[in-house]
Amino acid sequence: MGTASGGKQLRGRIAITGIGESGFSDAGGVSADRLVYNACLEAIEDAGLTPSDIDGVVVENSMTPDTVSTSEISESLGFDRRFSAHSLNVGAGIVASPLLAAQAIEQGLADHVISYFGSDWGTEREQKGSFEGGPYSYHTKKPYKRNLEIPFGYVTQAAYIGAFAQRHMHEFGTTTEQLGEIAIQTRTNAAENEKALKQEPLIMQDYLDSPMLADPFRLLDCCLISDGAGAFVMSSAEAAQEAPTSPVYVKGVGTGTERTSTNSGLTQQHDFTRLPGGAKSGPKAYEMAGVSPSDIDFAELYDSFTITTLIQLEELGFCEKGEGGTFVEERGITVEDGDLPVNTHGGLLSQAYLLGINHVIEAVRQLRGTADNQVEDASLGVVAGEASCEHSTLILGTEEERQ
């Protein structure tokens, strides 16, 4: 078995130099192409570049090829894909994009790499009444799911991840109210964020009254379905000194996988109190960055559901295994008075469902000091992204690495 360490030489070698966002809405009626195009243009301009300066692109592997592919965006924006790659799947892929970008930039395969994600799933759901594309049909078209799971009612992300919550409650006594606290405190963070789709504050009774969808998950345990797009540009640490924005360095990035697949990952995962790959990505990222959990000022954690925030708090070392619920209840995750601000923008639960690209963008804002819901003196943050058989952790910081 190979050693998990390595990649230390990538610490701080690249920076995120530009960020862009477009059209967060419940159902804005604008195509994914146009949303991505606009987000990319904004990110490129933010980096002080023009589209033809871009020469690399890294995107997640599972939704993006069918929504807005790398070749489409390079054609639309007019740049050469000197380096072009697909990362891991969905949230894990977006968060791990800097790992591929850093290797390409370090080796001179590209100078300025763009990463993006966008969708019009909110509009699609409104127009068609149900999902033909997006997360749901992705599962119904897969023969393994069609034949082994769906005929028995085992279908929807809420069911897949609700099953994890059920085990966490069974093994550690995690309570409904603790899940509720995650929804409530994430919403508190969203309330400060101009762009969040859900801003009305929540109290526990609101959470408990929200409709039960897939017991133990209520509506407020589940992330939104929305339209929108995000993009970010990465360049070398040296090139970042020329950018108009203050550099946000990629300090560490790590990925973790299981010997399961996109088909089997969510049912055959051995320990349902852990996310697939979730225990493995954090240590690699911390090691590359040379930091530990106590150094982290804020965390943008993939919150497809309340339980995923909770489990990632444990897996990233912010509390003991099984204590995630207690952490949220007793120590808190709001910017205003939490011990560890989490999902400072409102996350996927309350800002918008953009597979976590909004988490990367929010982390960059926090580190530039330009976030709506600013964590005071933020200089080191972590972003985490999940998928059905893999997980990624990214550590970003403001301090340049001395070479």
Partner: protein, 139 residues
């Protein structure tokens, strides 16, 4: 408790035998004939020993409930619209404790299903004309 109205794709070679077993009222699982490991999800070779002698064998049907979810909303999915609320979950066959099969669980007499409860299948005719297992706790 009614099965969701979504019939399996019997052209999928790797999983069609599961449903062939159901028509004979058996829960069959793929098992490597060389090392005896169960291969789940079904694959053409054994991940443990790489043998290609993987065959579907009958099990007792007895399985222990690992986790469950109470589906109360149809999520705008046509095949769920008429069958929710229902209980679904994952169960570990007693012969293959590392295997987790998705199961439709009958309404317990009171309250929710219990993790750890032992289940046995009864084979019911579905709307699409095939037999499929509905799991009930062993009395």
């Amino acid at each position: 408790m009614t099965h969701p109205n979504i019939e399996p794709d019997m052209d999928h070679e790797l999983t069609a035998p599961y449903w062939e077993g159901f028509q004979e009222e058996e829960v069959r699982l793929p098992q490597c004939q060389d090392c005896n490991e169960y291969v789940w999800y079904p694959r053409p070779i054994c991940p443990a020993c790489h043998s290609q002698s993987v065959e579907w064998v009958a099990t007792s049907g007895r399985a222990e409930l690992f986790t469950w979810v109470g589906m109360e909303y149809h999520f705008r999915l046509p095949f769920l619209k008429d069958v929710v609320p229902l209980y679904t979950g994952l169960a570990a066959p007693v012969e293959a404790p590392d295997v987790r099969i998705p199961v439709l669980i009958d309404d317990p007499a009171d309250g929710d299903p219990d993790i750890g409860m032992e289940l046995l299948p009864e084979f019911l005719e579905t709307e699409y004309g095939m037999k499929a297992p509905l799991y009930r706790p062993v009395e």
